[in-house]
Each structure stands twice: as structure tokens, then as C-alpha cells.
């Protein structure tokens, strides 16, 4: 079986664009802000235009371009439950100019949204198979919608393993979710941190150190990964060693992006535009791109 990331039903500029000008953002309002870690916040956003809000839909793995007025625009992946239609959430680490300014937003502030962009996790195609989700740090954010959708349709999937690594226990995103997922008996959640503390009872080490503890049948399992570039590299090596075939390793890549519609040229990897053809790829597809040096 050749598994390819799914084409989303809606994509800005192709099927879902409210005005003729695809560079004009739609206005959304910050409804609520949650602190995740010392440098990460989750923003709950609602569109001002109620008609547009009704027609707005997205799928796990897609992303939007967020305009922070006065600072600029940055691409951010959806992090909320895709079944929730009245709002969506973005989880953002304060790193660059735009994201630092975003962290200063308050409830009621306006932001600009263009999107959704990109393809999505192949959740339809993997029905009936076992799943292994591997994520590191803020790489959990783009996977969270996929996980929530899988849990909502739990009976459609086989065994569900999830590995999550972070720098320290405090740096873990979505601690409320992790707590709840750890209690569930229909999924196996293993966590690890690079540097533990007195309260940390779980594994210490990088996420690949958890590979010894999982019991999976590599022939019937699909792995979804997202995390820092270095993590993805070693996770991929480890999983290939465990016997995963190349088309069963699904990864969300990241590049600096500006336009989201395949024009600005920043996100190209060889001839592939991550914003329109990605960001989700199988390892098999990534191997065809010499620039990734895999």
C-alpha cells in the first residue's frame, strides 16, 4: 500500500478564498489565551465575519498565515480540535519578531488570518491500521488536531502509541491533554524529557530512547512525526531500523514561509513548495528531494 498525505477539501487561493485578493487577511479576534510553557501560548481565535466563520473549515496538518498588525505575518499550524467549528486555536512559541509580538496580545485584540494552507495528515487512509505518533517539543501542536480526531473516532484505528519528548517537564505543551491521554486505556502514551527534575517519574533522554519500550507490528503501523529537524532525522533512522517501510513514515516539514500560495519562493525544497504541496510528506516522497540529503 502506498500511502500519500491527503489533499485537503479546502485550500486558500484554490477553493476557499473570500475575496479576489488572496493576500488580504480576514479579521479574527482573540477569544482566549492559555499559557502552555514559559515561552509558549495557545490563542483561541474567532472570525469577526460570522458568515465566513461558518464556511471556514480545515483539516489536521494544515496551517494559516497569521498577521499580527504592526509586526507582520507568520505561518502557524492549527492546534485545536478539528471537530470544534466555532473557533480554532494556534499554539505559538515566542521566537521571532511576529511571534514575540503575538505573545503580547490580549483578549479582544484583532489579528489577520489567511488560510487554510497546505495538505493534511492521511487520517482517512490509515483507518484500520496501528498508529505511532512521535513528537518533540512544540511539534505536538500540529499533531494535536490529528490525535484528537483519532481519539474521537477511536474504533476506526488499531493500536495507538504516542511518544512525546520535551526539554524539561515544564516545557511540555498541552499538559492538560497529556494528563488525560495518560489515563486513557485505549492509547499508550510514553513521555520523556531531556533534563528531569525531582517530580519527574518518567523516562529521561531523547525521544528515541523510548523505542525500546514500545511493542508494535511495523508492518501494520503508520508513524506520524513532527518535531525539530534533528529529532525527525533520528526518529526516521530508528523507525526504519524497526522495519517501517518508507511510505509509512509521515512527517510534517517546516520552512520559512511568506505567501502560503507558492509564489514567494521561500519554502521550496527542490521543486516542491511546502506551502501548497506540503507540509506533510512521507519519507518516500522526501527521499525524492535531493536537497533534504536523506
Amino acid at each position: 500500500m502506498v500511502l500519500t498525505p491527503a489533499k485537503p477539501r479546502k485550500m486558500w487561493g484554490v477553493t476557499d478564498q473570500p475575496s479576489e485578493n488572496l493576500y488580504m487577511p480576514m479579521i479574527a479576534v482573540v477569544d482566549e489565551i492559555f499559557d502552555e510553557t514559559p515561552d509558549t501560548k495557545t490563542f483561541r481565535l474567532c472570525f469577526e465575519d460570522k458568515e465566513y466563520a461558518k464556511s471556514f473549515s480545515w483539516e489536521p496538518g494544515q496551517f494559516v498565515e497569521v498577521t499580527i498588525f504592526g509586526a507582520g505575518e507568520a505561518p502557524i499550524g492549527f492546534a485545536s480540535n478539528p471537530l470544534e467549528k466555532s473557533f480554532f486555536e494556534l499554539t505559538v512559541v515566542a521566537r521571532g519578531k511576529v511571534t514575540q509580538m503575538m505573545h503580547e496580545l490580549k483578549r479582544g485584540d484583532q489579528v489577520g488570518i489567511r488560510g487554510p494552507f497546505g495538505n493534511c495528515w492521511p487520517l482517512e487512509a490509515v483507518k484500520g491500521m496501528d498508529l505511532l505518533v512521535v513528537s518533540g517539543g512544540c511539534g505536538l501542536a500540529p499533531l494535536r488536531p490529528a490525535i484528537l480526531q483519532i481519539l474521537a473516532n477511536r474504533k476506526d484505528y488499531g493500536e495507538f502509541w504516542m511518544l512525546y519528548g520535551a526539554r524539561t517537564p515544564a516545557d511540555r505543551d498541552f499538559k492538560y491533554d497529556l494528563e488525560e491521554w495518560a489515563k486513557r486505556d485505549d492509547m499508550h502514551l510514553l513521555q520523556t524529557v531531556d533534563i528531569g527534575d525531582d517530580t519527574w517519574k518518567d523516562n529521561v533522554g531523547v525521544v528515541t530512547t523510548l523505542f525500546d519500550k514500545i511493542k508494535i507490528d511495523a508492518r501494520n503501523t503508520v508513524a506520524l512525526n513532527c518535531g525539530p529537524a534533528i529529532m525527525i532525522k533520528f526518529v526516521t533512522i530508528g523507525l526504519l531500523k524497526m522495519g517501517f517501510s518508507e511510505d509509512r513514515l509521515v512527517t510534517s516539514l517546516e520552512r520559512y514561509m511568506k505567501c502560503g500560495v507558492g509564489k514567494c519562493g521561500h519554502c521550496c525544497v527542490n521543486h516542491v513548495y511546502l506551502c501548497t504541496e506540503g507540509p506533510v510528506f512521507t519519507y518516500q516522497q522526501m527521499r525524492a528531494l535531493p536537497e533534504l540529503k536523506l
Binding site: 498588525f69 507568520a74 521571532g96 489577520g112 509564489k263 514567494c264 521550496c268
Partner: protein, 362 residues
């Protein structure tokens, strides 16, 4: 009068003819500046046009993809209310005297910006632009190699109107509906081309073809680059001389990459604008975390050539991304123009050369 017809325009009528065109649209044409330099600019009267110019270093692509283009304006206030105001300025314009290579480049960009997703800014500008191209009777510069790139010195298609200098008159070929429309005002000044006009044109074509000094044997480089067979050492060797000034991409009439900024205005509002960017800058791919997927000079030179000359891009764009205008040769301080890099790749891939000779500068 319709597309694909050939006419003759007397040089004594040229100013009057284009004064007629200027009633409908602004004229963008090459004109002499103080000191004898030629650049494209908006001309007030057709008399200023430098019909005898050779080549301009600053390509006319900026009249379709401006160096700095405002996209929309917004005001932040009063309390937290955002007002967006779209900007889309596309004045009707005729670009006169544009060379075949630049016409080919604009057609390339129109295809890129027009499909599959339409860029509204570029489309508005290209829809309101008529190209009056001027055939090169001989290569205007020793760096020209359009003949290797299927982009000149004359065009068979792609122009709106194509002019050929036949001494005391211009051969006037109409190539599109837009060209027909722009011709209507001065139609009375045109006469049907005779067999001697066509014969003279043919003589000029044959003669021009023989005069090229620079060549770029792209075919083999396309193979090597597409198959990722060029070793990293050759790219790093090439990149080791790059100053990352960005001149090659900024002066390239084909290059389209841009960056987006929100510019603060004096009155407290902001303007979202896009400006030319270059894949030769380290910041082109550097992420906020500091991670850069293209960390070395060599990887960035490789990127430029992969985009210009690899099969996947040729399949998508219908041609390779070089029109042989020779600007990167003129501009690059360190021989990273297309023909030089092609030469060095061919040499670097030479099986029987000792390694140090393969890497040596040509």
C-alpha cells in the same frame, strides 16, 4: 488589422504613432540619462525614446513586479479596530523597445504568477501592459547568449507587437489581441509589409545569429543538476567566491522570489509590501529558531541553479529559467553568471581531468 499580420512603420512617423498610443496609456521606454546611461522609465514624449540603445542592465521587469510593491494598508486604532484598505495600482502602460529576452522573461513570469493560483497584483499589471519588443539586429553586448536559451534575438511568438529596425523604417509585427488594440489609434500610419521588407528582416536574422560571442551549453548541466550528480564540493567551490550581494537574482529578468514586510508609515498606519528577495542571502531560508536548511554558500548557489535549470521546473514552467540576457555575467564580481557556472560544472564532471583541474576556475 489583426494578430499575426506584418506591417511597416516609417521612422519619420514613429513619434507621431507612439504619441497616439500615449493617449491611452503611459509609455515606458529606454531613454538616455545624464552621462549616457540607458534605463527604462516613464517617458513624457516619444521623442525621448532611445531607439538605438543596446542593452539595459536594470531589467524592465520592475514595471510588472515592482522592486517594492504596496499590497494593502491598515490602521490600528481607535481602540484595537483594524481597517484594511487594498491597494492594487495597475496603470495601463506600453513598454516600448523591450528586448526579446526580457519579453520571454515576462511571459515566463506571467505563467508562473498566473497558474495554478493567480497572483492578483501581477495579473492586474500584466493585463494592463502591452509589450512593443525590439529585435536585436546584432547581440547588443558580448555577454548576450539568448540564442542558447530560446529567447532571442528575435521572437516568433510571445510579443504583443514586435519591431525590427530596417534602416529608415520598422517592420511592425502584431502578435496578440492586445497588440491589435494598441495599434488601432495609429493604424493609418502603417503600410502592409512587402516582400523586400521580409527579405531584409530575414537577412538581419541570419546575420544576428552568427554574431554571438558567449555560449552556455546548458543541456548537459540540466542533466547533471536534475539528477543531483554535481558533487557538493563543486558547489562549495563555486559558492566560496560568492559575496551574497544578490545582484544575480535582482538583475535576473526571470527571478520572482519576494519577501513581505509591514512598513510603518509616518501617520501611524502600516503598509504591507513585498520586495524582491534573493535565494543567495542566508536569511532567505533562516528560520526564527536560527536553523537554516541552506546553511552554506554552495547550497545557495546550487539552489539558484536548480531553480533555473532542473527538469521538474522546466516541466512546470514550460522552459528553463534563463533567457540568456547576460546580466548575471555583467553583474557578478566573481564569475557566477550562468555560462561560467555551466562551464565549471561541465569541467567538474569531466571524468579524465585530475581533481584539482576539475575544481579550477575556467
Amino acid at each position: 488589422m489583426k494578430a499575426s499580420e506584418t506591417w511597416v512603420l516609417k521612422k519619420t512617423d514613429v513619434s507621431k504613432f507612439f504619441a497616439g498610443v500615449a493617449k491611452e496609456m503611459r509609455l515606458v521606454a529606454p531613454r538616455y540619462l545624464f552621462g549616457g546611461d540607458v534605463t527604462f522609465g516613464v517617458v513624457e514624449s516619444p521623442g525621448e525614446i532611445a531607439w538605438d540603445y543596446g542593452h539595459v542592465i536594470y531589467p524592465p521587469k520592475r514595471f510588472l513586479l515592482p522592486h517594492y510593491e504596496d499590497m494593502f494598508r491598515y490602521e490600528c486604532g481607535p481602540p484595537r479596530r483594524i481597517r484594511l484598505e487594498a491597494i492594487n495600482e495597475a496603470p495601463p502602460q506600453a513598454i516600448l523597445g523591450i528586448r526579446s529576452c526580457d519579453v520571454s522573461a515576462i511571459r515566463f513570469q506571467e505563467k508562473f504568477f498566473g497558474s495554478p493560483i493567480v497572483d492578483p497584483y501581477y495579473k492586474a499589471r500584466s493585463d494592463s501592459t502591452v509589450l512593443f519588443s525590439l529585435v536585436c539586429n546584432a547581440p547588443p553586448k558580448k555577454e548576450c547568449f539568448c540564442i542558447c536559451c530560446d529567447a532571442g534575438p528575435y521572437l516568433n511568438a510571445g510579443f504583443d507587437v514586435q519591431l525590427t529596425d530596417l534602416g529608415d523604417r520598422f517592420l511592425y509585427e502584431i502578435g496578440s489581441e492586445k497588440g491589435t488594440k494598441a495599434t488601432e489609434a495609429g493604424a493609418s500610419m502603417l503600410v502592409k509589409a512587402g516582400s523586400d521588407d521580409i527579405a531584409e528582416r530575414r537577412r538581419i536574422e541570419v546575420q544576428a545569429d552568427l554574431l554571438f560571442e558567449t555560449t552556455a551549453y546548458l543541456a548537459k548541466a540540466i542533466d547533471f543538476i536534475s539528477a543531483d550528480e554535481v558533487p557538493d564540493e563543486i558547489w562549495e567551490e563555486l559558492g566560496s567566491t560568492c559575496f551574497r550581494c544578490g545582484a544575480c537574482t535582482n538583475l535576473c529578468p526571470v527571478c520572482t522570489c519576494y519577501t513581505v514586510d509591514d512598513r510603518a508609515e509616518a501617520d501611524g498606519s502600516f503598509t504591507r509590501c513585498r520586495s524582491w528577495d534573493s535565494c543567495q542571502y542566508a536569511g532567505f531560508t533562516r528560520e526564527a529558531s536560527g536553523h537554516n536548511p541552506r546553511p552554506t554558500f554552495g547550497s545557495r548557489v546550487q539552489r539558484r541553479f536548480y531553480h533555473k535549470t532542473s527538469y521538474p521546473y522546466i516541466m512546470r514552467d514550460g522552459r528553463h529559467g534563463c533567457v540568456g540576457c547576460g546580466r548575471c555575467i555583467s553583474a557578478c564580481l566573481t564569475k557566477l553568471g550562468v555560462p561560467d557556472v555551466v562551464k565549471r560544472i561541465r569541467r567538474g564532471m569531466h571524468k579524465y581531468l585530475p581533481a584539482q583541474d576539475r575544481a579550477a576556475e575556467v
